[in-house]
Symmetry: C2
């Protein structure tokens, strides 16, 4: 049985202890308008105070509605949010590549284009964290927003959204993250929104081809239809390389 109150309090204590032990000051959090970043921001606002959080809305050909939700989250939890528009940087980046490979077609760039966005965003979070650490006279770090279901099937961009300094949702299923979101009163339209990457135009579940509740059941050893289980295990297996880089070791 998931005890939402107890877990929320434990996470807040976990964050406070880590900040105290390492003498840290603040956090830079990418606010996407989705529930994971909203829950992380809400937990950090309680743990270290909203005045020590810098939210970043980092559009990159993004939807206007996501922006509205991102600013709503910041207002609700009382932290500052700034827009760092990556659209031009992204466009220049892609144009640059097209100049170097003159025969390249747009269809050859689909996969490359999807993954460059989270990498630019992570670089931007760390850029702002380094800058704020310098200005504010105390270290700012970058919390990650991945949950246990995403981690289990490797649903993240290597060198992108899997790079962070502290993870608070990594042991929680999507369902449990939503419960915490409701408990800390993340706005309804954010916590109930079907999760999507804001990149491909599909929801996460459409893109993955499996449901988050089924992933949770696999993780917890509960009953899952055999075909679905095989699909989830295949994703789990094929993405293991994202967790551990093979390295030559002398005999």
């Amino acid at each position: 049985m998931f005890d939402v109150k107890k877990t929320t309090e434990e996470i807040i204590k976990f964050i406070r202890n880590y900040y105290k032990e390492n003498n840290l000051k603040g956090a830079v959090i990418g606010i996407s308008g989705g529930k994971d970043s909203a829950v992380v921001a809400g937990l950090f606002a309680r743990a270290i105070g909203p005045e020590n959080i810098q939210g970043l809305w980092m559009p990159c050909h993004s939807k206007e509605n996501d922006k509205k939700n991102a600013y709503l989250v910041a207002k609700h939890f009382g932290f500052n949010i700034k827009e760092v528009d990556l659209t031009n940087i992204y466009d220049n980046y892609v144009d640059n590549i097209k100049n170097i490979y003159p025969n390249i077609k747009d269809e050859n760039l689909t996969d490359a284009n999807i993954n460059i966005k989270p990498r630019l965003r992570t670089a931007t979070l760390y850029y702002n964290a380094a800058m704020l650490s310098n200005i504010k006279g105390g270290t700012y770090i970058v919390p990650g927003t991945s949950n246990a279901c995403e981690l289990y099937v490797g649903y993240f961009t290597k060198g992108g959204d899997n790079v962070s300094d502290i993870m608070v949702l990594g042991d929680l299923s999507v369902r449990e993250v939503i419960e915490i979101g409701k408990y800390i009163s993340v706005p309804n339209q954010v916590v109930n929104k079907a999760p999507d990457d804001g990149l491909s135009g599909l929801t996460d579940e459409e893109k993955l081809g499996v449901k988050y509740d089924d992933i949770e059941n696999v993780i917890k050893g509960k009953y899952v239809d055999n075909d679905v289980k095989e699909k989830i295990m295949a994703l789990h297996k094929i993405n293991q390389h994202k967790f551990k880089t093979p390295m030559y070791k002398r005999k």
Copy 2:
């Protein structure tokens, strides 16, 4: 006693096995003009053939001499190299931030500016790998270039040059990498060059404040002056967070 011939052959076999097991085709390698990337490229050229290697020279306010050395390495090992100039993207990136924080001074951005470069480079390597995988009909991966001494003291950018798909120098000291470089005939002016990051204007050893040979001796449990050893252990300890991200786990 370091057996350069045996180690070189083992690494080449390690690469070949990994490519075979995972049905891979090629490699995208950032060629900096320094010895680590030259040795990695030379080993991969032998293991998978130079026709399956795409070298990238990614200047970002870089020195002309480094470019000469990068192209010399590519020519020597017979693989194609392309220039992806990140200078404009970097400049736009920094200008973008300055517009958002109008009171920011250049001195507040020093640390942030040093680390953004390797992150842009890593994103570029993966971008090209995804694109080439699409065009060439087989998977291209990104080899890492970190050696054991750099790893021991955490001398790399998190989310930058520590992100890779396969590591071949991670168990070798700087001295051993140089031995391999000489053995596979990396051009003299590259293999004998004092390693620097091409970013800060200092050599690595100046920046770290310790010598790579001393780091090797600490790793191998050999005698090192006490003050030097303390300095190395302090670097080792303070950078452990780059290896493992702390994560909340329910009790």
